[in-house]
């Protein structure tokens, strides 16, 4: 059957390139591991063809998305005609298929670079890349073998979806124009229509992809029993990975803070956790490589850490993409039914690499002499171990859903009869991770003052007298001004100041700005700032939008402030006024004006515009607005607003309609407030020629209020032929309306309906506002980590 208007060439091109890319990745893997120069050349050629066809397939997908070919399921699901062109990238990696492609893209780019730079290690290193790529491309292959499918292609047409095959509408050759569903796609989730979504995923996935380089070097080293010549290359790549992955994770935090109303930059969500853990182990691995290069003797643990990092990236992929996290995370992907394939991928590399490590373990070079307790290498080893334990703790706690699947009531082997869950994840992680963080920042502070092999204790302390004094003084001052005397928090504050000041002092006073140490010291100062900034901004976070409703201290019920339009209410140190809202594209911006009190007068201070994104297809989303000061941020978002249009609110001028059936002289107590009595019934029924012309009935009603005032009214009911008419009677002062509805012919009683006027509700919104003190330290630290890593990498490349 020939369908009209489909762009089948794109589907064929996309699928063809996918198949080519997959085959070439497989071929490259085998060729690289075969012996001989010709095979190596073939491997290289195949990998490059794989990369180029992958780029082609990505380009094809971009093309069909940019041109809105809605017959494609991926295009229909992730774009719409009104999607601004700048969000095309976000739409591209919104789905699982696109984000897999993004990951493969970076792997291909890095692999491509390695075909030039890896030199004698090209074979085994790029070979590992090719194998990983083969697994990844298989995720978007979309091949069916019987009922089993391998991968899920982004080039599948809507009519080819399993649910749709055979449905009547697919029999129409002109289905694209016949059914309005295909005129426009469902569009990009408004939460993701944000520039952070354009830069955060590529950075994060470059970070994930970069963990593969040190892993490949480790595998290559093990295969060749060479534990020396690749250390320097792997070292540079691991620090590249630490830098990029770190920046990627922090960008996610910045996004959550700036554009999502989660109320902070870190929520210990499983998806955040599983990207943080590989960073922790990569940082450990990179530092162990440093020890190995400068002193030696840590090959086994360095290899273990580099291998573990990549495996944790795979585990993270499995968790976030298999649907396991469904109940416990706000932003895990929807299950595409790839869990089996993901599990095979994870197990293949886990078993393969760990078996290889075990098999080679005996032959690994070990320490000749024990490290001294006053040597730098000993404490770097302790630091790496702390990072590992911290990472494993996060992994274990994040893996509850996995344990439930394995050992829960419906698991493979039931060990407990109810699924387990962390009841308060944020407190849980904070409580356990704070001590680890203290150890890490302490080591970062002391590290520069320690020497490899042996440190003179006297010199160690002499060199940092200033640091210790300055640290203690500034920590005490900060704690005093913030009233933060929780011992754990104070220790962490002290230790992070120690890391910041110690590294600064070392760089300026002892290293005299030497470029060789500048990179690491700047990055370490950055890390100290991140910890200090997170601690201070979180531990002293202050909800200033408190209202007076107080239920229980555990209930944050009083954290929202109700503001009527035009009102000015007090909020913390400010007075805030809601002056109305305006529509801007998809957004409804709420104008908040902040005032400061000065000698009894209010002075305008600043304006904020928290907004709600209106999206009929996917639901409305609140976006915060934040005022940044040097020393604090004021973060607001609209937590409730009545978004019904005037039409939806309806003509609710009258409410509580109530039918009264009264005979003359009878009365009724209405709404618990009024005594309503039917005093008289007036009838006018003129007739001509024995026929009734019309009937007019008037009900003489008296309404007595609690204050004893009496109102007399007469609603009228008129019937002519089969037409009925009502003349309602209103009591303006009381907001009451009466209508003579009809006569109930069964009881012969007149039916009078009463209604109350709806008081016009003044528009209001609820807002939540929080002050995050010193959160800028966090962003400054992030920047310094990026800059420091960059300097370190450049100086290392130059030296080698």
């Amino acid at each position: 059957m020939e369908y009209v208007g489909e762009h089948l060439w794109a589907a064929n091109l996309g699928r063809g390139l996918t198949a080519l890319s997959f085959t070439m990745a497989l071929l490259s893997t085998f060729a690289y591991y075969a012996k001989g120069q010709d095979w190596k050349k073939l491997g290289r050629f195949a990998f490059r063809v794989h990369a180029v066809s992958l780029f082609g397939l990505i380009g094809t997908l971009f093309f069909i998305m940019a041109n809105h070919y809605f017959e494609f399921d991926y295009v229909w699901k992730h774009t719409s005609l009104d999607l601004p062109a700048r969000y095309l990238f976000s739409a591209f990696w919104e789905g699982q298929e696109g984000s897999f492609l993004l990951w493969m893209f970076w792997n291909a780019v890095l692999g491509f670079i390695l075909t030039y730079s890896a030199k004698s290690f090209e074979g085994p290193v790029v070979g590992v890349f090719a194998a990983v790529q083969a697994f990844l491309v298989s995720m978007v292959l979309g091949v069916y073998i019987g009922d089993m499918h391998i991968g899920y292609s982004p080039f599948i047409l809507v009519r080819e979806l399993q649910d749709n095959v055979g449905l009547p509408w697919t029999q129409f050759t002109d289905y694209l124009t016949r059914f309005p569903n295909f005129a426009d796609g469902s569009g990009l989730n408004p939460l993701l229509q944000n520039y952070w979504m354009t830069i955060h995923p590529p950075t994060l996935f470059l970070g994930f992809a970069s963990t593969l380089v040190p892993f490949s070097y480790a595998i290559a080293g093990l295969l060749r029993r060479d534990y020396k010549s690749w250390i320097n290359s792997a070292l540079i790549w691991s620090f590249f990975s630490v830098g990029i992955l770190g920046v990627g994770i922090l960008m996610g935090g910045a996004w959550a803070y700036e554009a999502l109303s989660f109320g902070g930059f870190w929520a210990w969500d499983p998806v955040e956790n599983t990207s943080l853990v590989p960073w922790l182990t990569m940082a450990a691995g990179a530092h162990l490589l440093l020890v190995q290069k400068n002193k030696g003797g840590v090959i086994p643990s360095a290899l273990f850490m580099l291998i573990l990092t990549f495996l944790l990236v795979l585990y993270s992929t499995f968790l976030t993409r298999s649907g396991v996290l469904g109940d416990s995370s706000v932003h895990a992907f929807v299950d595409l039914g790839l869990s089996g394939q993901l599990l095979i991928y994870l197990l293949f590399f886990s078993i393969g690499s760990l078996v290889l490590l075990l098999a080679r373990y005996k032959g690994l070079p070990k320490k000749e002499k024990e490290d001294r307790m006053d040597s730098r290498e000993f404490w770097m080893f302790i630091g790496a171990l702390t990072l590992l334990i911290s990472g494993l703790q996060i992994t274990l706690s994040t893996s509850y859903p996995v344990f439930n699947k394995l050992f829960g009531p419906e698991g493979l082997m039931t060990l407990y009869d109810k699924d387990k869950v962390l009841s308060d994840p944020i407190d849980h992680y904070n409580a356990i991770q704070v001590p680890f963080a203290i150890v890490i920042v302490l080591l970062i502070g002391a590290g520069q003052f320690l020497s490899y092999r042996k440190t003179s204790t006297a010199l160690f302390f002499k060199r940092q007298i200033l640091t210790l004094a300055a640290t203690t003084l500034s920590a005490l001052l900060s704690a005093w001004s913030l009233k933060m005397w929780n011992p754990m928090y104070f220790l962490l504050l002290w230790a992070s100041y120690y890391a910041i000041i110690g590294n600064l002092e070392f760089l300026i006073r002892w290293a005299k700005g030497n470029w060789n140490v500048a990179g690491s010291t700047v990055a370490h100062v950055g890390f100290g700032l991140i910890i200090a900034g997170s601690l201070v901004s979180n531990a002293n976070k202050d909800v200033i939008s408190k209202n007076k409703t107080f239920i229980h201290e555990e209930f944050p019920a009083n954290e929202n402030l109700l503001i009527h339009e035009g009102d000015t209410v007090q909020m913390g140190d400010y007075w805030v006024s809601w002056t109305g809202q305006e529509e801007e594209g998809y957004y409804l911006n709420y104008n908040l004006e902040f005032f400061k009190e000065n000698e009894g007068k209010l002075e305008g201070s600043f304006n904020l515009k928290p907004r709600i994104q209106l999206n009929e297809k996917m639901g409305n989303v609140a976006e915060p607005s934040t005022k940044h000061f040097l020393s604090k941020d004021i973060y607001t978002h609209v937590t409730y607003a009545d978004l019904r249009s005037e039409l939806e609110k309806g003509d609710e001028e009258w409410k509580n309609q109530f039918d009264l059936e009264l005979l003359q002289g009878e009365s009724h107590f209405l709404y618990g407030k009024y005594k309503v009595q039917l005093d008289t019934l007036v009838v006018e029924a003129p007739s001509s020629d024995g026929e009734l012309d019309y009937v007019v009935l008037g009900a003489g009603i008296s309404v007595r209020t609690m204050q004893d005032s009496v109102y007399k009214i007469m609603p009228v009911y008129a019937v002519q032929g089969d037409k009925a008419n009502h003349v309602d009677a209103e009591i303006e002062e009381l907001g009451l309306k009466f209508r003579f509805e009809r006569i109930n012919y069964e009881t012969n009683k007149p039916v009078i309906s009463a209604a109350e006027r709806t008081e016009e509700e003044e528009p209001f919104i609820l807002i939540k506002a929080e002050v995050f003190p010193w959160i800028n330290l966090l962003w400054l630290g992030s920047l310094m980590i990026a800059i420091g890593t960059f300097i370190a990498i450049v100086t290392r490349i130059r030296r080698s």
């Binding site: 992907f333 302790i382 209930f555 929202n560």
Partner: protein, 131 residues
């Protein structure tokens, strides 16, 4: 014994100790019925909105109440002392963390899963085909 070995042993001990402490400490997924039996202990119930029940949000007291049905079919009133989440009516599944009282389940945290956000199906209205 080598220093590094001692360090590794300490690290492993921390991890095992931690796991044992955690095991006794975590809460479980429950039904509303189980939640009542827990006598006010914190737990998590997965359920969905019962559209036949009442739903009310009072912005002045910031109290949102609704009726939910858990996976076993138990129905309970749920009180959530936070503003009513956007598009609550469209949620497909609700994860409620909190505790049961005599009159209602008090949720301290609510996580909603909206079907529309991620996996809206491209459905063609088959009624239109024959017209």
């Amino acid at each position: 014994m080598k220093n590094s070995q001692i360090a590794i042993i300490i690290a492993i001990a921390i991890l095992i100790g931690y796991s044992l402490v955690r095991l006794g400490n975590s809460s479980t997924y429950s039904s509303f019925e189980d939640a009542i039996a827990l006598n006010g202990e914190k737990t998590t119930v997965i359920g969905f909105l019962d559209l036949e029940g009442s739903m009310d949000f009072n912005p002045k007291t910031v109290q949102f109440s609704f009726t939910a049905k858990d996976k076993k079919g138990n129905i309970s009133k749920v009180i959530y002392n936070q503003p009513k989440p956007q598009d609550f009516e469209r949620s497909e599944e609700i994860t409620m963390t909190g505790y049961a009282t005599d009159s209602a389940f008090i949720a301290t945290e609510i996580l909603m899963k909206c079907p529309s956000k991620y996996n809206e199906q491209n459905e063609v209205d088959s009624d239109k085909i024959y017209k």
